[in-house]
């Protein structure tokens, strides 16, 4: 498998990682995703990693850098479905993915992305402050 497929659903790009990530695959994903955001004008990115069992510092850093690139292109990244073992590993590696939103599963992740989109639409910032005290 050479590429990880990127699906477009409304204004959101969905990536599900179903294979073990190796470095080249991660780099290709970042490139594809960046190009896709620019081409479709997507405002949200949902990365689903519930099938991802092994992470190293490189993959962790790739997640951070994908999120950073997306933010530059005005799309918000949500990582969904991280496994406990992966979370522990990332924390032990000192990669706490600050600045990336997280969700327990795809459903909640999608809700989080949509909330971010609708919030910008009405222009009032509504209830976000309540969630970040």
């Amino acid at each position: 498998m050479d590429r990880i497929p990127i699906l477009k659903l409304g204004g959101v790009l969905i990536v599900t990682i179903q294979v073990d990530m190796h470095d080249r695959l991660a780099l290709a994903l970042e490139e594809d995703l960046t190009a896709m955001i620019v081409r479709t004008g997507a405002r949200g990115v949902l990365i689903e990693i519930s099938a991802l069992e092994i992470v190293d510092s490189f993959i962790g850093r790739m997640l951070v850098s994908i999120a950073a690139v997306s933010r530059v292109l005005d799309a918000e990244t949500v990582v969904a479905g991280m496994r406990p073992a992966v979370a522990i590993t990332l924390v032990e590696l000192g990669l706490e993915l600050t600045g990336i939103k997280t969700a327990l599963n795809v459903e909640r992740g999608m809700a989080l992305v949509q909330a971010g989109l609708s919030e910008e639409d009405d222009g009032h910032g509504s209830d976000r402050g309540r969630y970040e005290d």
Partner: protein, 289 residues
């Protein structure tokens, strides 16, 4: 005569005498220590040990670690293991082997006659052999005790990290006792697994039972919070006692997470965040049942 040969001759020929004298000593020591071992059991054990000692010597060497003594070492290991579990003192257990010296020396004396140069050789060989066997017994004893302690430690760790489901999607983790890195690992794993199982949005970590919070404990707490966040759950830390709050500020420890003074406050915040609230059904002035 060679030491091993002499010793074998004495132990095999005088097995009954040695065993009976040994039992007498053991029985005397036993009453002094409250008589934990049953006499019948002791008699069987003594019989087996003396006969296996003879078999080991028959193999022709005096090396207690050699293959000839393997069955005897096994027997002694079994005895000391069961004694460790029954709560015998180390002295009792060591004396079990050490008290065998006296009857063996006496039997040597009877066989050689006093003043014989063989007697000295025999006593030295027997002393060496029995000391080594006693050491082996103690090693097994200590290993068994450590095993018991290790198991208890693990049980305590498991008992003291329960994850409680307070409401749909709200978990509480009441921490009791000091947080070290080993325990933090267990806590983290239990909490994260519970978050997955319960599909929790909010986890409340209550540290009322944590005696002190220093920089290390704070770091462990923050790790747990960060891991839970990666899973998509928010954490609230509650139950910080006044003294602990002061100590933390003096030490310069900063918990960059939402913290509340009591579990009740944290629960109220969690309910509000998940779009619920607690209301009183009756006004407080009305008649209570």
């Amino acid at each position: 005569m060679h030491g091993a040969e002499l010793l074998r001759k004495v132990v095999v020929d005088d097995a009954g005498g040695i065993r009976d004298a040994w039992l007498a000593i053991l029985a005397a020591g036993m009453t002094a220590h409250g008589g934990r071992a049953r006499e019948g059991e002791l008699r069987t054990q003594a019989g087996i040990v003396v006969s296996q000692l003879g078999e080991g010597l028959a193999a022709g060497d005096l090396d207690a670690d050699g293959s000839g003594f393997a069955p005897l070492r096994e027997t002694l290991a079994d005895i000391s293991r069961s004694r460790a579990l029954q709560g015998f003192t180390p002295t009792d257990t060591a004396n079990f082997v050490f008290s065998l010296k006296e009857p063996v020396f006496e039997a040597l004396g009877r066989a050689c006659g006093s003043g014989s140069p063989d007697l000295a050789t025999g006593v030295v060989s027997a002393g060496k052999l029995l000391d080594r066997l006693a050491l082996h017994t103690m090693e097994t004893f200590l290993a068994s005790r450590e095993e018991v302690i290790g198991r208890q430690g693990q049980e305590i760790a498991e008992l003291s990290t329960p994850v409680v489901r307070l409401w749909d999607g709200i978990l509480a983790l009441p921490l009791i006792g000091t947080l070290d890195s080993a325990r933090t690992g267990v806590v983290m794993e239990t909490l994260l697994q519970a978050i997955v199982d319960e599909e929790a949005e909010i986890a409340i970590i209550d540290i009322t039972g944590v005696p002190t919070v220093d920089t290390l404990v704070a770091q462990h707490l923050l790790k747990t919070v960060a891991a839970a966040r990666l899973m998509g759950a928010d954490c609230i830390v509650s139950g910080i006692r006044p003294q602990i709050a002061q100590t933390m500020v003096h030490l310069g420890v900063e918990l960059n997470v939402v913290s509340k003074a009591t579990l009740a406050d944290a629960f109220a915040v969690a309910l509000r965040r998940t779009g619920r609230k607690v209301v009183r059904q009756q006004a407080p002035t009305e008649e209570r049942r």
